[in-house]
């Protein structure tokens, strides 16, 4: 530790802490996946999404912490590899924090195993002139790999305090707080081009770091190798998908949904709500509003809590596990070629897999992609083809009961359609795709506490952002129903639905509902299929159209937020005809060949 060196320096200069007009603003900056969000959580007691996947923080998170007697604002920024030259959208967010004077002090968090990379960033940071502290995080993992860093020498070379930490265990945090007043501007030579910066970082690294023989645990190494090679990786992917099906599709969508829908809501919440409403509200209109066919409680809350929540929760739990274990980036290695054909690269695998949980959340994570073209294609594919967990559960629920061939047909058609549209988009949309260059974090066993916190945060997000939209959707349906507009809309679509798609007239209404929320429509189809009103072929056609159909309202609003109203409307007008025409084509082919499921 370098405390005494710094203490000497501190004696010569006044501390940073003093009376000020606004709280001291501390920005946490560092390469991706070095634990900024963990440090943020430890300092502020607030949670920022923590994962073993580079680029999870796609926006700035703020919190407060106490340093001595002073309250400070802490800003968690997206991970950056560089702050100069061509930078990605999330890197720009971080750069803006530094350039626009939003930070008074910088804590650079570095992965102790990778200080060479960190130091390249340090030279760039020095240009901004902020008082800085360097925190070497994950020193335990570094030691396990035989890497030790001479923090004292590093501190002398850079002229700033250097703290060794294991943030996830809270080690070194007190030292960090204690040294904050001693932060000073970084002293490095002014290096303009990237090559010179890298050379300087390389030279300094060789002086301050000692590496003994690589001693990565054998099992860890073997697993890392197996997950990124196609020959072993593809069977492993099949196993992962099967586990996902068992955990999300069977346990979440059947066991938990059954429990919540039939017992908790069917026998408890809904009868109680109906009783209360009937005994307190005198008007039929008001009673219908809460507990009618499109009632806020009997429909909105039941769908949101009893049907979708268990599926979303189990998915987030599993996704968190895969994310933290370091598995998903390895998936990117062998899916890269497929994505490249669609104008993307392997990095797109994260938003795509996350989309299987919630397309809205996945749309937001497309920010990790480097070029506007890639982000647009990823958003298009998410909206078009990736079924969210609620939809997936419905698809498996309905078609699982029909036949395996039916399931295969649906996924075959949807995947082909995605590929064709993706390929066309890759050709037609102007701009470039970026090179596939990706860091693979070490394979490690996720921490249960982090997994639980992460799932809890995502479920809170769902409850806070998605459930209100369910309720708004229900109110819209209620209003449309009361003013008989639902019937009008449904009858407008009926010729297409019955003629072109060969579906029962009542599915028209379900598609209108699907416009409000995709999973809503899916749940509607579920009921229709369960009451025996759909043949196997009809179920496949209806679900295919539903899967390809327009995104739910929440997803649409997210596209507007990310890419603007014009792009969102363009996507909408592209996706709708694709969905209907694909359904019509499928219906025609299945009937022509007399296919029965």
């Amino acid at each position: 530790m370098s405390c005494h060196v710094i203490a000497e320096q501190a004696a010569r200069k006044p501390p940073v802490l003093r009376l000020r007009a606004h709280p001291l603003r501390i920005a946490l900056v560092g390469n991706p996946n070095v634990g900024k969000s963990v440090v943020f959580g430890r300092l502020t007691g607030r949670y920022a999404t923590v994962s073993n996947y580079p680029g999870t923080t796609v926006a700035v998170t703020r919190g407060r912490t106490l340093v001595g007697a002073e309250v400070c604002d802490v800003i968690d920024t997206p991970g950056v590899n560089t702050l100069e030259g061509a930078i990605s959208e999330d890197e720009r967010i971080t750069r803006d924090v530094l350039v626009k004077g939003e930070a008074d002090l910088v804590i650079q968090i570095a992965d102790a195993r990778n200080i060479r990379r960190a130091l390249t960033l340090t030279t760039q940071l020095s240009r901004f002139g902020h008082p800085t502290i360097l925190a070497l995080n994950m020193t335990d993992e570094a030691l396990a790999r035989g890497i030790s860093v001479n923090a004292e020498l590093l501190s002398k070379e850079l002229g700033i305090p250097v703290v060794e930490m294991v943030a996830i265990e809270g080690r070194g945090l007190q030292a960090l707080r204690d040294l904050l007043p001693l932060a000073s501007p970084i002293r490095t030579p002014l290096l303009i081009d990237a090559a010179a910066q890298a050379a300087w970082a390389h030279e300094l690294t060789t002086r301050v770091r000692h590496v003994s023989t690589l001693s990565l645990a054998y099992a860890q190494e073997a697993l890392s190798r197996a997950t990124r090679r196609p020959l072993t990786g593809i069977p492993m992917l099949a196993v992962v998908l099967y586990v996902m099906y068992l955990f999300v599709g069977v346990f979440g969508a059947q066991t938990l949904v059954g429990l919540l829908e039939e017992d908790v809501f069917g026998k408890g919440v809904n009868p109680a709500a109906i009783w209360v409403v009937n005994h307190t509200l005198p008007f039929a209109f008001a009673r219908d509003f809460f507990v009618g066919e499109y009632g806020l409680i009997t429909m909105g809350l039941t769908y949101a809590i009893a049907i979708v929540l268990p599926v979303v929760t189990t998915f987030f739990l599993l996704f968190g596990f895969l994310e933290d274990s370091g598995y998903i980036p390895r998936l990117a290695v062998f899916s890269d070629r497929i994505f490249r054909a669609m104008g993307l690269n392997g990095k797109a695998v994260l938003p795509m897999v996350l989309g299987l949980g919630c397309d809205t959340m996945a749309t937001m994570t497309t920010r990790i992609l480097a070029t506007p073209k890639e982000r647009l294609i990823a958003i298009l594919l998410l909206a078009l083809g990736i079924p969210c967990s609620a939809q997936l559960a419905t698809i498996l629920g309905i078609l699982g009961g029909v036949s395996f061939a039916a399931l295969l047909t649906l996924f075959g058609v949807v995947l082909t359609q995605m590929f064709v549209v993706g390929w066309l988009a890759g050709q037609l949309i102007s701009g470039q795709r970026s090179d596939f260059i990706m860091e693979l974090p070490p394979i490690r066993l996720p921490r249960l506490s982090n997994l639980i916190t992460k799932t809890r945060m995502r479920v809170w997000w769902y409850l806070g952002e998605a459930v209100p939209l369910f309720l708004v959707g229900t109110m819209l349906l209620f209003a449309l129903d009361k003013f008989h507009a639902l019937g009008t809309l449904a009858s407008l679509g009926r010729p297409i639905v019955t003629g072109l798609l060969g579906l029962p007239a009542s599915t028209s209404q379900i598609f209108v509902m699907g416009f409000l929320r995709r999973d809503y429509g899916a749940a509607g189809l579920f009921q229709l299929a369960h009451s025996g009103q759909l043949t196997g072929v009809q179920a496949v056609v209806a679900l295919t159209v539903m899967t390809l159909f327009i995104p739910c309202v929440a997803n649409f609003l997210m596209i507007v937020r990310e890419r603007g109203l014009k792009t969102a409307c363009t996507l909408l007008s592209v996706i709708t005809p694709i969905a209907v025409l694909t359904g019509a084509g499928l219906n025609y082919v299945l009937h022509t060949f007399g296919v029965q499921f």
Binding site: A198, G346, F436, E439
Partner: protein
């Protein structure tokens, strides 16, 4: 002959894409591929003098650079010129 020769080596040595698994090498030079390609690699620690070990060659190239495991597509691996380490 000369075109084949160019594809696999240059005055700086070998291309990363041409190395077999397990090969140890030192980065000698980065060729500009796309506008931001070189900077991305440098930011991740792939810089002149960095030592690497090739871990996988298909479908993409996976290699350990210093202490970071990196995966790149073949076209990128072709822009990384290396000198094979002895032993």
């Amino acid at each position: 002959m000369s075109s084949i020769h160019l594809a696999f080596s240059s005055e700086h040595g070998h291309r990363l894409s041409a190395l077999a698994e397990g090969t140890r090498a030192v980065v000698a030079h980065l060729e500009a591929h796309r506008a931001d390609g070189v900077e991305r690699l440098q930011a991740l620690g792939v810089t002149k003098g960095a030592s690497i070990v090739v871990l996988q060659t298909f479908p993409g190239v996976v290699f350990l650079c210093d202490q970071t495991e990196l995966a790149v597509e073949r076209a990128v691996a072709e822009t990384i010129l290396v000198r094979i380490s002895e032993g």
